[in-house]
Symmetry: C2
């Protein structure tokens, strides 16, 4: 126990408790007990419960987003001027999350919670860990899917993240809903299923094509 790895132990324990019980449901007493630290250590190291939560999410997302950015840079430089494949982009978006510790369970649960819990908390997450990666992914997807309008792409990206989060909603929800057929611990299998499903959804014709197949894509793209 080096000095002030108390901070690390607090983060690790908070990660467990917040992802399992949510922000309101987790108590600092339990967190500090689990971290073998003192209750007052939270105030000292982080300031408040909310600050601790944000620190946990940031610590969890930082390496994932670094990996995503690296893969994106790599793929784009390999592709040169050509747009990337949708499947490749989805892999880059989803793979690093799912492959994170425990199949990304805690990461995704925490992320899902940060969106559904207090809006203020949500805002801090969106403006923090997501600030840089989201526009990059969005731009790459727009190039890969020129048939989609901006609104349509936004919808589909949102649906995509919803589907991804669903695999970690409850630790046992996927297993229970599928009556044992699906194994959320099978990260690679789940990832293949997700990518196949979402890539097809992304490639679906846009609204313009659905309403009148002959309309030029230019108008739709500007929506």
């Amino acid at each position: 126990m080096t000095p002030a790895d108390t901070r690390e132990r607090l983060l690790a324990a908070a990660e467990r408790h917040f992802s399992q019980y949510g922000f309101a449901g987790a108590s600092l007493r339990q967190v500090t007990a689990d971290a073998r630290a003192n209750l007052a250590a939270v105030s000292y190291h982080f300031g408040s419960k909310e600050d601790l939560f944000v620190a946990v999410v940031e610590r969890l997302m930082a390496p994932i987003n670094r990996e995503r950015l690296g893969l994106l840079d790599q793929a784009e430089s390999r592709a040169g001027a050509a747009p990337l494949e949708v499947e490749a982009l989805l892999e880059i978006l989803i793979g690093p999350v799912l492959r994170a510790r425990k199949g990304g369970g805690r990461t995704l649960r925490l992320f899902a919670r940060s969106q559904i819990e207090d809006p203020a908390l949500c805002k801090r997450i969106v403006e923090g860990p997501l600030k840089v990666i989201k526009p990059r992914i969005e731009a790459a997807l727009a190039r890969a899917l020129p048939h989609l309008g901006r609104q349509e792409l936004a919808y589909r990206l949102h649906f995509t993240m919803g589907a991804v989060k669903s695999v970690a909603g409850d630790q046992h929800a996927l297993r229970a809903f599928s009556r044992g057929l699906c194994d959320p611990d099978d990260v690679e299998g789940t990832l293949r299923q997700l990518v196949a499903f979402l890539a097809a959804g992304m490639r679906a014709p846009g609204a313009a094509a659905r309403r009148s197949p002959r309309r030029s894509a230019a108008k739709e793209r500007s929506r």
Copy 2:
């Protein structure tokens, strides 16, 4: 104020508070104050906070599931022996939820929360309001998508519900993530986007086809 519409007012207030603050985050004191009822009324009418939560979810889901069952019966009797279209099935699955009060926001948020909060709570919901409707939808989808194995269908149905829940995750998440492009209050527009996206995902080739296009579908279906 007829006698014991206190019960109704409690349910309505609890619906607001639970959907906004979650199970742990909502307090019975605030709920009862909002319902202009006495704190002790919760114990009298429902028993406990958890029982109140379950009652709220049941009250919210019952009419939705009734509508789904009605639409399913209708569609199936019209179709006779033929399987239903995927789009029609998705409309039946999703339409009634989204069209519920406030674009289904509270319903979906509460449903999402029941899955992510305490697993015990989740279990009570899954075994209650979902008991009858889920197998029906699943069976109809299996007929509509004979190219999918049981595992694959289970995955995709799970992803589907994740995408649906995502439109209500945070009241403003969709709007914020899309920087105003998507309007979650535009129920019919959101529904069209969801159905188009999800139907394409559902129709995507199965794993058997992806691995070896010539393999018969029979083996895959039995997975």
